[in-house]
Symmetry: C2
Subunit: 336 residues, 2 copies
Amino acid sequence: MAGNKPTTIKEIARKLKISPSTVSRALNDHPSIGLVTTMRVKKMAEEMSYEPNQTAIFFKQRKTFTIGVILSKLSEPFFSEAISVIEHVAEEKKYTVLLGQSLDDEQRELNIVQTFKKHRVDGILVSLGKNTGDTDFMSVLAKTEIPVVFFDCVPDLPNVHKVYCDLSSGMEEAISAFFERGHHKIALINGPESLLASKDRTVAYKEALAKYNIPFDSNYIVNTDLTEQGNEDAMEKLCSLADRPSAVVSFNDFVTLDLIRYAKLRGIVLNQDMYFISYANYPLWKYMDNPPMGSIEQYPEQQAQRAAEILFDCIDKKEYVETPQEVVFPSKLVLK
Amino acid sequence: MAGNKPTTIKEIARKLKISPSTVSRALNDHPSIGLVTTMRVKKMAEEMSYEPNQTAIFFKQRKTFTIGVILSKLSEPFFSEAISVIEHVAEEKKYTVLLGQSLDDEQRELNIVQTFKKHRVDGILVSLGKNTGDTDFMSVLAKTEIPVVFFDCVPDLPNVHKVYCDLSSGMEEAISAFFERGHHKIALINGPESLLASKDRTVAYKEALAKYNIPFDSNYIVNTDLTEQGNEDAMEKLCSLADRPSAVVSFNDFVTLDLIRYAKLRGIVLNQDMYFISYANYPLWKYMDNPPMGSIEQYPEQQAQRAAEILFDCIDKKEYVETPQEVVFPSKLVLK
DNA sequence: TTGTATGCGTTATCAG
DNA sequence: CTGATAACGCATACAA
C-alpha cells in the first residue's frame, strides 16, 4: 500500500531523456516512431508501472468509453440477462457499463440520466420504468447529444431508436393454444393500465380473441398493480365471476406465481380447473412440480444484443443509424 | 438533435464580460463573489444551458465519483439484491456504480480490475469469483492505491477489508434441526473443493456433526462443480450409497433445485425419504408446493450495506479504516 | 524520426 | 470582490 503517485508520461520522458510526445506516440504505437525507441519506452513504462490516466484521456478525447444502462431492476431475470449481454458487447468494444436501476420510479430515472450526462457517457441504453410517462424523461434526453437506444419498455414515439418484443404474436399463440384445447372463457390479468406494455397486451388480447371468434367480455380483463396483494385481488375478481374463466393470460411469470398460489388457496386445481400462460418465460418453471401451461418468451438477450449493437453503431457514427432504428422481435409461446 | 457543442465556463464569461474564474466561483457559490454577479452568472448559465464538464473536473480533482463493483453474476438473487443496496448507498454519496460481472472467470475478473483502474474509480467492492485463486487477483489489486472492500466471497488474507457471512452458525442450526428430527445420516453436497466457501462449509459441517456426536463419514461429503450435471452426479453418488443419507445440507438453493428434481426422478420423496437444507434463502421456495425443509439466510443487503459504508469511509479517509475491517454476520437457518 | 507548442475545461493561487 | 495565470496528463498539429 505504498503512497506512490502514479507515473506520468512526462516522468518516463525525463528518465529516457526524450520528449513526452515521443513517449505518448510510442505508447500508442504511432508508426512514425522508431522501433527501438518504442521498445525502450514500453520497457520503461513497464518498469515504472505506468498506467495511462484515463481521466485525462477522457477529457482530451471527449470520450469516456462508458455507456450507461437504465433499467427497472436487476432482480428481474429479464434484466439481469439483458445486462449480461450488454456488458459482454461493451467489453468487446472496450467499453465499461455504468449502472442505473430506476426501480420503476420516474424521478429516479431522471436523476440517473442527469448523472449519466454529467459523467459524459458515450451512449445510453434504456428500458423505461413501468410507470414512466414518456414526456419528461424524453425531453431531458432530447436535449442531449448522447445517443440513446431504448429496449424492451420503449416509448411510443417516432424518431428514437428502439428494440422491443412484439407482444401480440405471443398472445396470439397463447389464445390459439387455449382455444385448441377447448377453452373459450379466456381472461387477461394485465398490469397497470397506464403502462404501454399493458395497453399492448390488451390490444393483442382483443385481436386474438376476434381471430378465434371468441366474444370479448370486459369482465375478463382485470388489472393488477403488480404487487402481491394486487395480483391476489385480480385473481379474486376473476374467481368470483359467475362465469369463471378456465384460462388466463397473465402479465408475466411473477404475477402468475402469485395467481397460482392464490388459486390453490381457493381450492382451484392448476391445469385442471384453470390454465395459465404468462409473459417472460423465466427459468423457474422447470423446477415446479406443476408448472403453468406455458410462458411467452421475450428474448432479453437478443433485445439487449441488438440494442447494444445499434448504440455502438451510433457512437461510431455508422451511417445507417442516422434514421431511427426500430427492431421488433416476435414473442413466442413456450409450452411447459 | 442540434449539433451544439456544450457550453463552457469561458463562453459564459465572454458573454458576461467577466473572467472565467469569477464564473467558476459564482457557479460554486464561492462566498467572495458578490450576490449580483452570482445571480447574473447563474442566470446566464441557465440560459445557455450550461452543464459542467465532469470529465474535466474528474481530471482536475483526481476523483471520479465512481465506484466499481465486481461480482460473479447478477442472475444470482444474492448479487442482484446486493447491488441494489450498493447502488442506493452510492447514490446517497453522489457516486455512480460501474459494473463488472466476473462470471466466476478469474481472467475476466482481472480484466475488470484493470478496466476499473483505468477508469480511475475511487473505490472497488469485490465479491470474488467462485474459482478465483487469491494470489493473482490480490497482487494486481495490491499494486493500487484504490481502496478495496471485499464482501461475501472474501479472500483468506489479513490486511484487507472484508464483510462476509459466517457459514458455520447456519450449518450448526441446520444440523441441529436435522438432529432434533431424528436424522443421523446427514450428508453435505458441497461446491468445488478449491473454493473457500466450500472449505468453510466442510469445516462447519464437521464441527456441527461433532457437536451432536454424529460420527463423520467421508462418503457423506460429495462435491459438485455447480453445473446441473454436477449437481445430479453428486446426488446420484449419495443415492447409490449403501447407507443412504436421510438429510442433506447443500451448497446453495440453486443446487438444491437440481437435487430435488433429480431425487424425484429416482423416486425419492422429498421431506419423507430425504430432507434438504441449503444456503441462500432465495425467495423461490415460497412458491413451491413442496419446499425443502429450510434455507440458510446470508443477508446480502446487510453485507452490501456494510461493505459499501466501509468503502466510502475509506474514500473519505475516515480514521478507523486505517486498520483492516472485518465484519462477520452470522448466517441463520430459516425453516420453510 | 523526433521535439515544441498548444489546448481540452476547470479550479486554485496569487495579485490587484 | 475580481482577474490573470498556471496546472492537471495527455495527444496532436506543426516544426525541424
